[in-house]
């Protein structure tokens, strides 16, 4: 007897897979089974969609029926609102998979005369659960109770009774509540969080003129989950959560090297790019980043590899024409089906949507090589945090799929300096190539150097290069010059001569 009890106590709570994309990764399996979870967020943060999707996926994917308790909108309005997502709740209701408990405000006066409880509400919910044999219940939103019934202590007690009753019969419940600030109290009336064991926060933050949606699991009592905010988007078919760190753990690493399309550059990087790594090419405008991208893609296609190029600054025609001027025929590769060029202004979509768009493209085309030219264009439309998330997510995804990536970034000043892009993502890439203008003897020349090559040796010199009819032509290292990287190139020889002259 005793032994049995101990085992029961130590049992880990099961989880219920919500069916919401990405949620099982950040929650490590789903919502705690047979328990209540509070979803709190500001107005418009996606609480209602989340709770309906929880029920909808349950009914359609896991044969778990649901009950939706609505305090704000009528069931009719709710059905209409989610029609556009392809969720036909009316049919679900007719076929006995879904039941509504309509607790939306009634017409007419309500007078409070003495003590009361929410016995009728609890009875109705239990009745609805029995009617459709529900396993999932969503209650949206409990905030509406407060102005109507005023006594916060009583509401708290009654909600506690409700969740306890649902727990007893093994129902997994979602309660939503409204909050006023994105980073403040969990919920508006300060008591909502105490009625549930688990709290999830949905945010819709304005960051530098851009909206950014995130989901954070604040607590899961007695079980594990991932911590921190994860970006999500509400797509045409529902929630899509992008679990960033979840992906990083399973990366393999490859020792196989691939060519960057230029013998000298391969030599500089110690033998070419690792099969599953990311190289960042950074330099001011006009130094040859796009040329390098095109060369990279061309050499891939020539080896029969599939390549995809996201061009944010030039159209396909421009790319093809420019390629021809240094002897690269992109059209040939496109016609063969080895190359796909995607030209799109990043301004046309939100960041999360854009990432999904890229992922869809990658999944569809299954490339071996990926080029993003340039990341700085993405940076233009994203806030700093979103941009970092975007790059982390993209790099971990490409590594997972063993895609070799070349990203370009544009530095702000012509001479020296570093781009913001570089500063924020340099640790995320495996290799960095810097392109710089070098002013010498009244001429603008170009310099190239490899400053980072994870897991390999690389040349340390700054070499001169030109772009000619045959593409990139890397020459000898600059000698007798220093200060190129800072943009203050000066000839050491001249300076020495000058010093010597002064000495007489």
């Amino acid at each position: 007897m005793l032994k049995k009890k101990v085992v029961k106590k130590n049992q880990i709570f099961g989880k219920v897979d919500t069916g919401i994309e990405g949620f099982s990764v950040i929650s490590e399996g789903g919502l705690p089974k047979g328990r209540a979870t509070l979803i709190s967020g500001t107005s418009g943060s996606g609480k209602t969609i989340y709770s309906i999707e929880f029920l909808w996926r349950g009914m359609n994917k896991y044969k778990e029926n649901g009950v939706f308790v609505t305090f704000e909108e009528t069931p009719g309005d709710i059905c209409k609102n989610v029609e556009s997502l392809g969720w036909d709740l009316r049919t679900m209701e007719k076929t006995g998979k879904l039941a509504f408990v309509d607790a939306s405000p009634t017409e007419g006066d309500k007078i409070l005369a003495g003590s009361y409880d929410f016995g009728a509400l609890i009875a109705r919910i239990i009745y609805a659960i029995k009617k459709v044999k529900a396993k999932r219940v969503a209650i949206d939103s409990i905030t509406a109770l407060f102005p109507q019934y005023q006594d916060a202590g009583l509401i708290r007690r009654e909600l506690f009774n409700l969740t306890a009753a649902l727990k007893r019969i093994g129902i997994t419940t979602i309660l939503t509540s409204e909050r006023i600030e994105e980073y403040g109290e969990v919920a508006r009336f300060g008591v909502e969080e105490f009625v549930s064991d688990n709290v999830i926060i949905l945010r819709n933050v304005l960051e530098g003129e851009k909206r950014r949606r995130t989901i954070e699991i604040l607590k899961f009592r007695g079980t594990v989950h991932q911590k921190g905010e994860f970006p999500f988007t509400i797509s045409k078919i529902g929630f899509k959560i992008l679990p960033l760190s979840g992906l990083e753990l399973i990366q393999r690493s490859s020792m196989k090297r691939i060519t960057l399309g230029n013998k000298e550059l391969d030599r500089m990087t110690g033998g070419g790019l690792f099969r599953d790594s990311i190289i960042l090419v950074s330099g001011p405008t006009g130094t040859g980043k796009t040329t390098m991208s095109t060369t990279f893609v061309d050499s891939g296609c020539n080896n029969g590899e599939r390549c995809i190029l996201f061009a944010y600054e030039e159209s396909q025609n421009q790319l093809v024409r420019n390629g021809l001027s240094w002897g690269v025929d992109l059209t040939k590769h496109i016609n063969k089906g080895l190359l796909r060029v995607v030209c799109r202004y990043p301004e046309t979509m939100g960041p999360e949507d854009h990432l999904l768009f890229i992922k869809d493209q990658l999944e569809d085309f299954k490339p071996n090589r990926l080029v993003v030219d340039s990341l700085s264009a993405m940076e233009r439309v994203l806030s700093l945090n979103s941009f970092r998330d975007f790059v982390i997510s993209l790099t971990s995804y490409t590594k997972l799929k063993e895609i070799a990536g070349l990203f370009t970034s544009t530095s702000k000043t012509l001479l020296g300096g570093e781009s913001i892009t570089e500063a924020h993502i340099s640790t995320l890439t495996d290799a960095i190539v810097i392109l710089r203008y070098v002013e010498m003897h009244g001429e603008m020349r170009r310099g190239i150097t490899v400053i980072k090559m994870r897991g390999s040796n690389h040349e340390k010199e700054i070499r001169e290069f030109e772009i000619g009819n045959n593409g990139i032509n890397i020459k000898e290292p600059f000698s007798g010059v220093e200060g190129i990287m800072t943009g203050m190139a000066r000839s050491i020889i001249l300076a020495e001569e000058y010093e010597l002259k002064k000495l007489g």
Binding site: G108, G114, G119
Partner: protein
Amino acid sequence: MKKKAGRKYVLKLYVTGQTPNAIRAISNLKKLMAEELKGIYELQIIDVIKNPQLAEDHKILATPTLARVLPEPIRRIIGDLSDKEKVLLGLDLL
């Protein structure tokens, strides 16, 4: 006191089983009816645990809830009806 001659009162009291609130509400209401509406009221007591569909149909959340169905418009008074003045106010008897 308002005139109630010729009027008929139809009242429904929703309760959850035999809770103290329910017992108090029934006794408070009966006392009040005997004093104020002798012979001209009709009272139905509904236990929402036995009849949850009725509670659903009439969108009852809190118990006890006293609904004045007639005369119209419908009025709802929530609680164990211990606040006599508010009950009378709610029933338009003040």
